[in-house]
Amino acid sequence: MDLSYGKEYDEYREEVRAFIKEHGHKSPDSSKQGNKPDAEDKAWQKLLIERGYAARIIPKEYGGYGGEADLLKSVIIDEEFDEAGVSKGLGGQGISMLVPTLLELGTDEQKEKWIKPTLEGEIFWAQGYSEPGAGSDLASLQTKAHVEDGKFVINGQKIWTSSAHFADMMFILVRTEPDAPKHKGISYLLLPMDTPGIEIRPLVTMTGEATFNEVFFEDVKVPTDQIVANRGEGWMVANATLKHERGMLGDPRQSSSLLHQVVELMKTEDVNGVKLMDSPIFRDRLLKLQGRVMAMQYNSMRLLSNDLSGNVELMPILVVKLIGTHLNQDICGLAIDALGELGVLYDDSKYLRNSGMWQTRYMFMLGLIIGGGTSHIQKNIISEHGLGMPREPKPQKTA
């Protein structure tokens, strides 16, 4: 057992800290998300790329830093930026999902055209995957495209499309081969959001915000070269990055940070003149959550160690999304209960605590419990892939 990262990395950590100390004040608010990048965001992103703190391993020719893949350095950047509360640069599904996909499977022309402006925040992407009838069973998606005069013609509907209302482009899964088996009939296309025939309707969620949209397609025409990989290979293309998305949900560093905020809350708030931390009942709930957070932190340490050594263990990966998202919601739930009536204040109400983040986060976490494969789907995956239990038999067809 050796938990140190080594001298080289200790030095790198100092370097990152020095950078944050010198430039951290230029960081946009790290909680600011769900908007189109503005000048401040872009300037920060540019600086991060120049210094190798964003787009670290993306080749220089495509607008990245061009560094060597170094897992520990990436971990150190994450740790230090989170700790200091500064922005890690632009997010969004273009950077997190499309860019790695193009690097792996795109043509040289596609890489040149899309990656640099995406990294710099000049092009913002929406993801067109889920449909009203294709959520957990994504491969059954029905939005279809046929070829006419050298163009794909798209008809159908997508849902849960984050950022569609301000995105410039969309990467989308459509059914191009209606006669092929469901996983083999899908293609992965790229299209501009201002193409005629696209209608966007905002979908207001329980938090009151419209972070998602429904997107309708009526005879939307896309040149046939706007495809990643070949026709019918879209499922394979999408899966290359879906795995990546699952890994991000349930990050224990977020749990740890939320827990820390509840500790501060319970040390400062009181009810009937008694500090919340002095209530044995709330205190015990807090400690129980601390135990759960710790288990996930060390699980994460195990995963990092495995990644470094090339050791492959499935189960500790499979559980992260399920356990992590519920844990985060439970932490927010404790904050709300400890605050009591104050915990249900919302919007811009008088007496609002922590800008109302506990309710917003509590509801948002439920969204994460659902999104990226609901907890029920996660449990199917854990039981089938982790424990080797059989799939539910297909229902028999009735004559």
């Binding site: 129980k288 710790m294 356990i323």
Partner: protein, 364 residues
């Protein structure tokens, strides 16, 4: 950076698993629980031959000179097969106390005997973690008086290490004049816990009187961390048995493992248990290498493993249906071992409150 087992530890894990799987079959457990001593000569001498009884004991005292993670690897395997073996008291807690507080003479006297398997030690620290029935031991003028309850591995022990208050440790020989041992029958007969009543019993101070609070705490921490490892092994085996049974048992013309309700129950057990593994590793590592975190981790790992294991004990029994409730499956030995481990050295609520005090979240 390397978090997990070294190559040597993987080999240790494999050899101890091979040993317990072949030498501690369910039929043997059935016989041994009737005796209820928490001890079997064959298992114990087998462990001695493997050279693991002195896992925490330096080579100069005849031990293996390994580390705490090695100790929890062994304890986990013993939990996996619900082995009646006084390893927790003898090989983990006693050496921790003796190495922390004992004189060179005492180390030379006891540690080689522990390493060879000739000396089994019961640990009476319950009055530090949660005194009941007005129990407690006092020591003065070379004599110990009072009562120690739930002495771990006490039934088969040749000697006892008892806490006299929170800051003093004494050694009492089994069979000493004035010492009365009474078996406390718990649900878990794979381990023999006893009550000791001491009436002017000759006792030997380990360390100084009133000066061993740190050694007492270290011994409690070691015990709690090892109990968490035992719970990890016990729960892991229960989960495996649930999955194995579900894959065999057929109802409605299907194996019941194909029913989603049952799959999700198993998935929940696995999802909650898997991160516990890394938590036990880290807690074990702290006992030896990170003193600042050792007590907090011992509290949290004991509490968390208990909270995860109890539903596993219930749900695995549930997955087996009516048969799970019978004696035939033998599942109840695991269920009961989890039940005892959960309470020894402090219930989850009690140890969490200690963790709160430790972090300054509440006054002591």
């Amino acid at each position: 950076m390397e978090f997990g087992y070294s190559e040597e530890q993987k080999m240790l894990d494999e050899s101890i698993r091979r040993f317990v799987n072949s030498e501690v079959p369910l039929d043997r457990i059935r016989e041994l629980v009737l005796e209820g001593t928490g001890y079997d000569e064959k298992i114990w001498s087998g462990l001695a031959e493997l050279g693991v009884l002195g896992v925490l004991i330096p080579e100069e005292f005849g031990g293996a000179g390994m580390g705490f993670l090695d100790a929890t690897i062994i304890q986990e395997s013993l939990g996996y097969v619900v082995a009646p073996a006084p390893f927790l008291g003898t090989s983990i807690m006693a050496p921790t106390a003796i190495l922390a507080a004992g004189s060179d003479d005492q180390k030379n006297k006891w540690l080689p005997e522990i390493s060879s398997g000739n000396l089994k030690v019961g640990l009476g620290l319950t009055e530090v973690t949660g005194a009941r029935e007005n129990a407690g031991v006092s020591f003065s003028g070379g004599k110990a008086n009072g009562k120690a309850m739930f002495v771990i591995d006490g039934e088969c022990a040749d000697g006892y290490i008892l806490a006299a208050g929170k800051d003093t440790l004494v050694w009492v020989a089994a069979g000493a004049a004035g010492l009365t041992k009474t078996r406390l029958n718990t649900v878990d007969n794979t381990r023999g816990v006893v009550e000791l009543v001491l009436d002017g019993v000759e006792a030997e101070l380990i360390g100084t009187q009133g000066g061993e609070a740190a050694a007492v705490q270290k011994t409690v921490d070691a015990g709690r961390t090892a109990l968490a490892a035992d719970l990890l092994g016990t729960s892991q085996r229960m989960l495996e048995r649930a999955v194995e049974y579900a894959k065999e048992r057929k109802q409605f013309n299907r194996v019941i493992a194909s029913f989603q309700g049952l799959k999700h129950t198993c998935a929940d057990m696995a999802a909650n248990l898997e991160p516990c593994r890394a938590m036990v590793w880290y807690a074990a590592h702290c006992q030896q290498e990170i003193a600042d975190e050792a007590t907090l981790l011992a509290c949290q790992v004991k509490s968390h493993l208990s909270e995860v294991s109890t539903p596993i004990a219930n749900d695995t029994t549930l997955v087996h249906g009516g048969m799970g409730f019978t004696d035939l499956m033998g599942l109840h030995f695991w269920f009961k071992r989890i039940g005892l481990s959960r309470q020894l050295l402090g219930s989850p609520e009690a140890v969490r409150e200690e963790a709160a005090v430790l972090q300054g979240w509440v006054a002591a």
